[in-house]
Every structure is written in structure tokens, then in C-alpha cells.
């Protein structure tokens, strides 16, 4: 049986893991390569590294980080942040990523999705979407507004429409972050996740808001997520992916165990 994936997410700035609360207040949480290897050892099904360094110098640091991180990883490894061109993507793949995620650049130049997909396969292209519920819309959830530039800039696009376009262009997966929930540890936005998951035929990874095991049970059930991202829940030794998955299994969620 296909299992629900628990994906450990490392937000990386200038070569260090950080974790923000609603996209600000960054806290240092260690070396990416060490953290990634630890998560894999502790049962994470996949590792996502999101680079939030904006500077040019940071890009070279990122490739070194990706190379070092990939060296110790034998589970799927996705890298996102600052990938603006197919060439940027190629460098990240060469450094050892199995998948790349694109966000702002894909909204600016949607054909980037087609282009990377053609060269590296749809399985290698994850489209990351940051969305915030839109109280002014007729359907605040399905028309949740897509933001770019780390959640700083609204695009006027509705989340479901954009997810569908990404799929049609050849995205292999959608990584959906609820900006309302991110960093709160108050639970995933299950309505938002379900709206997107039901609208597309590709897997949806839910992100933003993980705080307890029940939140994961909820997003895999009500939220119809295929995978869920967790960052701060692991970083400070609160829980490992393995213990999270053991509890999920007890709650009837199909997960990869033993791991």
C-alpha cells in the first residue's frame, strides 16, 4: 500500500538551518548536512531543503550545501529557493538534488515548469505555492491568494487555478504552504489542502502549522494530503519522524514502518 510521506524540511539561510515563525524571527537550528542525515536516520521519508538566502554569494554556498547534504542521503532529496532558470535547476541537480522546487520564478515565468520537466522529468519538478485565505473572495479557500518572494508579495492569483496550471505544465508534485498556519504549530489548513488536492491529479504535500500528531492525522484524512512537511516539530528534539510515524500508524494512517 502506498504510504503517506513525512517530509523533513530544512529552511536554510547562508548555509545554516533556520526556522521562522510566520516567515520572520529566524532561529539557528544547525548544519544542513548533519540535520538532513539525522532526519533520514530517524525515519523521514524525504528531505526538503528550502534556501531562503536571497543574495548571489549565497547561491554558491547553497550548491556546496546541497552537495554535502546529498552525499549522506539515500532518500529523496528536494531543493528549492532561488531557482530562477533551467540552468539554476541543472546546477542544483548536478549537486545531488533529486527534485527541485520552484515558486516565485514559476509564477513569473510559468514555462519554466515545462522547461525543467522536459529536461529532467516531471517527477523532478515540485511547484511550491504559498497561499493565504482570501476573505474578500467568493470562495476564500479555493481562491486563497498566491504570494511570492517568501510571502511578501501577493500575486492576485487563486490557489486552485495556479495549482491546475502547474499540473498542466508538467509539475510532478505541489508543495502547498498555508501562510495563515505556517509557524503557528496550530495545525495544517486542511480545507485549503483538500481544495487543492481534489483539484489536481498529482500529489500534494501539505505544509505549515504542524504541531501535534493529530494535526498530521487530520491533514492526511480531512486534508487529503499525500505527504506532509514538518520542520520545527523535529528541530528541537520534540519528536522524530519515526516516533511521529509510529503514532500515525496507531491512528490508522498508512506509513513506512519500520524505517
Amino acid at each position: 500500500m502506498l504510504t503517506k510521506r513525512i517530509i523533513a524540511c530544512l529552511d536554510v539561510k547562508d548555509g545554516r538551518v533556520v526556522k521562522g515563525v510566520q516567515f520572520v524571527d529566524l532561529i539557528d537550528a544547525g548544519d544542513p548536512a548533519t540535520q538532513a542525515a539525522r532526519h533520514a536516520r530517524e525515519g523521514a521519508d524525504e528531505i526538503v531543503l528550502l534556501d531562503i538566502t536571497a543574495t548571489h554569494e549565497g547561491r554558491q554556498t547553497l550548491l556546496d550545501t546541497v552537495r554535502r547534504t546529498a552525499q549522506q542521503l539515500f532518500v529523496p532529496f528536494c531543493v528549492g529557493g532561488g531557482i530562477r532558470t533551467a540552468h539554476d535547476a541543472a546546477l542544483v541537480f548536478e549537486a545531488g538534488a533529486d527534485k527541485i522546487s520552484v515558486n516565485s520564478a514559476a509564477l513569473k515565468t510559468p514555462t519554466l515548469i515545462d522547461e525543467i520537466g522536459r529536461s529532467f522529468g516531471a517527477q523532478a519538478v515540485v511547484v511550491a505555492i504559498d497561499a493565504r485565505r482570501n476573505p474578500d473572495a467568493k470562495d476564500p479557500v479555493r481562491e486563497a491568494e498566491v504570494y511570492v518572494q517568501g510571502g511578501r508579495k501577493p500575486t492576485g492569483r487563486g490557489v486552485v487555478a495556479w495549482a491546475r496550471e502547474a499540473e498542466q505544465r508538467g509539475a510532478g508534485e505541489i508543495l502547498l504552504t498555508s501562510m495563515d498556519s505556517d509557524g503557528t504549530r496550530a495545525g495544517f489548513d486542511c480545507e485549503l489542502t483538500a481544495a487543492v488536492s481534489e483539484a489536481v491529479g498529482i500529489p500534494v504535500i501539505a505544509s505549515g502549522g504542524a504541531g501535534t500528531v493529530d494535526h498530521f492525522v487530520d491533514v492526511f484524512g480531512r486534508g487529503k494530503a499525500d505527504a506532509a512537511l514538518a520542520a520545527s516539530i523535529f528541530h528541537f528534539g520534540i519528536s522524530s519522524a519515526r516516533s511521529l510515524k509510529e503514532e500515525l500508524a496507531r491512528a490508522g494512517v498508512s506509513v513506512r514502518l519500520p524505517c
Binding site: T3, G121, A124, D226
Partner: protein, 203 residues
């Protein structure tokens, strides 16, 4: 131990190379040097992306070289599209023949309400006698990402269920293939690749 890894310009080989090296193998990559295939100790054909990309194997003469190497007993492992290529073809690119080591053809997953591609960790139902999967316990999980699949046949070494049962691993003597990615399948995947690297013919 030297492994010849075939590059047919369809996606990236980094993960496969890194994992083989981690397991102590020396790797050589070729996209055209037939001597490296003829003299190979072992051959790995990775693959992601579209079946149509395997046309390059015919154009470069690699298909013939692999057929000859397999015939003389060189251990061969196809991964993902590399496994599908061992069959007669795929409905993904009907005009492009596979190697035909196995006579069946690969097809798209049947219509259903489930998502396609099949992405993630799924379990293996292993048949007795597989050397490639020796030591892997029933129910261990491996990582898949694909939309086309090979049917279950008499050469199936392990099957997996998603929408329908399909071939997760195929094996006949020195010819082996996995639909899943052993290089991305944690400790289970490393065990399978180690089995391949240590594969010897049965006397």
C-alpha cells in the same frame, strides 16, 4: 568492482553514481563508448523521464552492445525507465521498442480515482528465489515515482499494488530491473544494490 553506468541524456545520474560509489563500486559513465559496455563487469541503466528517450540507446548502438553483454552473462540492472526498457516497449512511446528481454509491454496505470504518478514509498511482495532481493523482508518499503508500469509476469521478482498489481522488480538470471529507485530507498535500497554488486551466476 567496476560498474558501467549508461547515460542516455534523460535526467540526472548523480544519485545513482553517488550510491554505487558509497557501496564501494568504481563507476564509469558512458553515452556512446561501446567498449565500456562490451568489457563491463556490471551494467546499470538508470532512467527517469520519458520512454521515448531510450531511442538514443538504439541510435548510439548501445542497445546492441547491451544485448551482447547480457548474452555473455554480464549482470545488468535497469532502474525505473531502465527496467521498463527491458520489456518489449511501452505505451508511453509506442513507436519506440524496448530491448525485449521480457516479451510483455508496459502500459499506463488503469483509469481510477487514485493519483498518477504513483509517488512515494510502497511495499514489496517478494517471490521466493530472488537473488536481487535476498534479505529484504516481505512488506519492506521502497520509493517509486512513475506513471507507466510493467505487468506481473513469470519473471516478476516482486510485485507492488497501486491501483492494480504491477512488477516492482523483474529478474531472470543476470538480467534484473527495479521499477522503484533503490538509490532513494534507504537501507532497503542499499541492500538491493549490494545484492546486485555481489551477484554471481549460480553454478
Amino acid at each position: 568492482m567496476r560498474v558501467t553506468v549508461i547515460d542516455y541524456k534523460a535526467g540526472n545520474l548523480t544519485s545513482v553514481l553517488k550510491t554505487l560509489r558509497h557501496l564501494g563500486a568504481e563507476t564509469v559513465v558512458t553515452d556512446s563508448d561501446l567498449a565500456l559496455i562490451e568489457n563491463a563487469e556490471r551494467i546499470v541503466l538508470p532512467g527517469v523521464g520519458n520512454f521515448a528517450a531510450t531511442a538514443r540507446l538504439d541510435a548510439t548502438g548501445i542497445t546492441g552492445a547491451i544485448r551482447a553483454a547480457i548474452h555473455k552473462g554480464t549482470p545488468f540492472l535497469g532502474i525505473c525507465v531502465g527496467m521498463q526498457w527491458l520489456f518489449s516497449g511501452s505505451s508511453e512511446a509506442p513507436e519506440q521498442p524496448g530491448l525485449g528481454a521480457f516479451s510483455e509491454a508496459c502500459t499506463h496505470f488503469a483509469e481510477s480515482t487514485e493519483k498518477v504518478p504513483h509517488v512515494g514509498w510502497n511495499s514489496l511482495e517478494i517471490r521466493d528465489g530472488s537473488k536481487l532481493l535476498a534479505g529484504v523482508e516481505k512488506g519492506e518499503h521502497v520509493y517509486f515515482t512513475h506513471s507507466f508500469r510493467a505487468p506481473v509476469t513469470s519473471n516478476t521478482a516482486a510485485e507492488t499494488f497501486y491501483i492494480e498489481p504491477f512488477t516492482a522488480a523483474v529478474e531472470r538470471g543476470n538480467v534484473m530491473g527495479t521499477q522503484f529507485h533503490p538509490e532513494k530507498s534507504g537501507a532497503t535500497g542499499l541492500k538491493i544494490l549490494t545484492n546486485f554488486l555481489q551477484w554471481e551466476p549460480t553454478c
